[in-house]
């Protein structure tokens, strides 16, 4: 019963795309997802009709995933694990693990540029892109540091260490006091300056015409 429902869902999704696709000719990317993202060209629908669908996946439980399940939903911090870290702890960890590439106080080092400042720079040039100026949500710090840092040994820091380095980054960017800390509840509450800085894809945004002679 449930399977039949799901088949129906898949079929109706494909049908909906096909209908919109036909209606949307003659002017760019008319087909959009339910959340408003332009999809470009749809199809050919990749699923082959199969009388007997093979099923080779092995069931597992969410608990079996363990340390694989590392994504954080940045808007509300869903997925942040229990833990806490202070700015002071983060400074020590940063100086041991991060300075070689990112420099003292994250002002830029041998390999990467500054991770501090840039708030208010986007209406001019250059735009100084840092976690402070660019991230719309603070939990991106936790997610990104956990999955990538330190670059030569990612996914080796403890949860508290990741919170601490995140807190230090927020402090360097003026978004957390020097005696501050972050935990799984407080991180998503921090109002980031660029939270409203993003517009969903609205292309095509150009209106070039196909002129053939005496065009300039």
């Amino acid at each position: 019963m449930a399977l039949a429902k799901l088949k129906l869902l898949a079929a109706s999704t494909a049908a909906a795309l096909a209908v919109i696709g036909c209606a949307g000719t003659g002017g760019g990317m008319a087909v959009k997802s339910a959340t408003g993202i332009p999809l470009g060209a749809t199809g050919p629908h990749a699923v082959q009709p199969l009388p007997d669908k093979p099923r080779f996946g092995q069931p597992l439980s969410e608990a079996d995933l363990g340390a694989w399940n590392i994504d954080i939903r940045a808007r509300d911090g869903a997925g942040l694990p229990p833990g806490r870290g202070t700015v002071a702890q983060g400074k020590k960890i940063y100086e041991a693990k991060c300075t070689a590439c990112h420099g003292v106080d994250a002002k830029g080092g041998a390999v990467y540029g500054t991770m501090v400042g840039g708030i208010g720079s986007f209406k001019g040039s250059p735009r100084v892109v840092t976690p402070g100026s660019m991230y719309p949500y603070a939990p991106i710090l936790f997610d990104y540091i956990r999955r990538t840092m330190p670059m030569d040994s990612p996914q080796t820091m403890t949860t508290d260490e990741i919170y601490a380095v995140s807190a230090y980054m927020l402090n360097l960017n003026g978004l957390l006091p020097a005696d501050g800390a972050v935990d799984q509840n407080s991180m998503a509450q921090i109002k980031m300056p660029n939270r409203d800085g993003f517009l969903v894809d609205d292309r095509p945004d150009s209106r070039a015409v196909r002129c053939m002679t005496n065009c300039k």
Binding site: A2, L6, L9, A10, T13, A14, T25, G26, G27, G28, S33, T35, I37, P38, L39, G40, A41, T42, G43, P44, A46, V47, Q48, L50, K53, P54, F56, G57, Q58, D64, L65, W68, D71, R73, A74, R75, C101, F122, S125, R127, V129, M134, Y135, P136, I140, D143, R147, T148, M151, P154, Q155, G197, F198, L199, D201, R207, R210, M212, T213, K216
Partner: protein, 446 residues
């Protein structure tokens, strides 16, 4: 992409032998001239060329029997993976050398489009973009997981994935950063440097929908996370409609297993969209109600707009084209006939027209599109041109099946902020032909 970089000047192009109707060196070399004539390019057919042919023919000895006719060649070894001729060693991927990163793990290399005929890029020449280098993954140990808003989380071994009914499809693959060094003034010299974050590939794998449907899709799921098993655990959020439509879970490319640098043993391919969403070394797929807003879809891979804003989730690669021959760094050897050729593509459909201008965009002629013309795939265009020996500015302009016309940089500047590290550059590329036949990058000049 990596934020800390230094810009260096484009390297000089070294003298190369080649099988192209143009020289890769600014200076004619007598040896190259003989090779050129030997290749039947005397079709140039001008008085000048004919004179050269006559002079050569009169003074030359009868054609010698080549050494290869008088000896045994290399025998067939018991096993071998074939490699290109030793005379083709200049046809290589090159690490980005215009926009230079200070490390080469989160870095990229570029496809030598100037040497690519047709629409398929050989596996050893497909561009790379990694965020923490290329991992070396044992397929026997690798697992792919689907979980989140599904009825039953599932794990798949590689042995499982290859048992499903497979699909093979041709698609272009392009990095959102293709062209980022050349918006307002020329920084790059060759088409490899300007457009080499582009390849054409036949991908083979399983429709993502097959695996998602097996896990059982919660009707409330709207977005799908794809995560890599590399040192960056690179991750993107993709609308479920695209995943159920044409997205593939891929284990082979151009007739063989994925190369390590292209995602071995398994990756996702999201056709027509910016390359980085097609997460390599795929280990995890998770269904959710909303996007995750990862760093890779907020602080990176977003486009500056006026008033300090940024465009997010701009994933479709819009219609674009470029002339690959003649192109920057090459030299037209003499006036006469040239086949002008290049590539066109669109993430929004098929290429319908490509127009070529020889006078900097004043007048245009429609080029011939070579079959097959496939959806979200590279299309080869060709047009004959009789170079009169004078200065010229060559441009191509593609139109796709939605009616979208490839814009100029000036067109894009009307709605975007071209400031800093700007992606999604699909504007027209001018190549300037000088009086001596030398071809240079004309971006911002023409």
């Amino acid at each position: 992409m990596s934020e800390k970089t230094q810009v260096s000047s484009a390297p000089s192009t070294r003298k190369k032998k080649n099988l192209l109707p143009v020289e890769i060196d600014a200076q004619l070399q007598s040896m190259d001239r003989r090779r050129f004539l030997g290749k039947g390019m005397a079709m140039a057919g001008t008085t000048l060329a004919a004179g050269a042919v006559g002079a050569t023919a009169a003074s030359a000895a009868p054609l010698p029997v080549p050494e290869s006719n008088r000896s045994m060649g290399k025998p067939i070894p018991a096993t071998e993976y074939g490699i290109p001729s030793k005379f083709e060693k200049h046809v290589v991927r090159r690490r980005t050398d215009v926009f230079v990163n200070r490390q080469n793990w989160s870095d990229w290399s570029m496809t030598p489009l100037q040497y690519q005929p047709g629409i398929i890029t050989p596996n050893g020449l497909i561009f790379e973009r990694h965020h923490a280098g290329t991992p070396d993954i044992d397929p026997a140990a690798h697992r792919l997981v689907i979980h989140g808003m599904v009825r039953q989380p599932l794990t798949f071994a590689m042995d499982d994935l290859v048992r499903y009914p497979s699909v093979s499809r041709f698609y272009f693959h392009e990095c959102s950063g293709n062209g980022l060094a050349d918006w307002l003034k020329p920084a790059s010299k060759t088409v490899q440097q300007t457009h080499g974050l582009l390849s054409g590939v036949l991908w083979t794998g399983v429709p993502a929908a097959t695996l998602l449907e097996e896990a059982g899709i919660d009707p409330k799921a709207k977005w799908v996370l794809f995560e890599g098993a590399d040192g960056s655990a690179h991750t993107r959020s993709i609308p479920i409609e695209k995943v159920l439509d044409d997205t593939m879970i891929v284990y082979a490319m151009n007739g063989e297993a994925l190369r390590p640098e292209n995602g071995y043993p398994v990756r996702v391919v999201i056709p027509g969209w910016e390359g980085n969403v097609s997460v390599k070394w795929l280990r995890r797929i998770k269904l959710g109600e909303e996007p995750w807003h990862f760093r890779s879809e907020t602080a990176r891979y977003t486009d500056p707009l006026p008033e300090g804003k940024w465009r997010q989730f701009s994933m479709v690669m819009e219609c674009k084209s470029v002339i690959t021959s003649p192109s920057g760094g090459q030299t037209l050897k003499r006036p006469g006939f040239y086949e002008v050729t290049g590539l066109a593509w669109s993430g929004a459909g098929k290429v319908r027209h490509v127009d070529v201008s020889f006078d900097g965009g004043q007048n245009w002629r429609e080029a011939t599109l070579e079959e097959p013309i496939m959806d979200k795939c590279l299309t080869r265009f060709k047009i004959g041109w009789n170079w009169n020996g004078g200065p010229a500015v060559l441009m191509s302009r593609a139109v796709d099946s939605t009616g979208y016309v490839q814009p100029s940089v000036q067109d894009l500047q009307k709605t975007r902020a071209i400031v800093g590290f700007v992606q999604h550059h699909n504007a027209i590329q001018p190549w300037i032909v000088g009086a001596k036949g030398e071809v240079t990058n004309g971006i911002g000049k023409a």
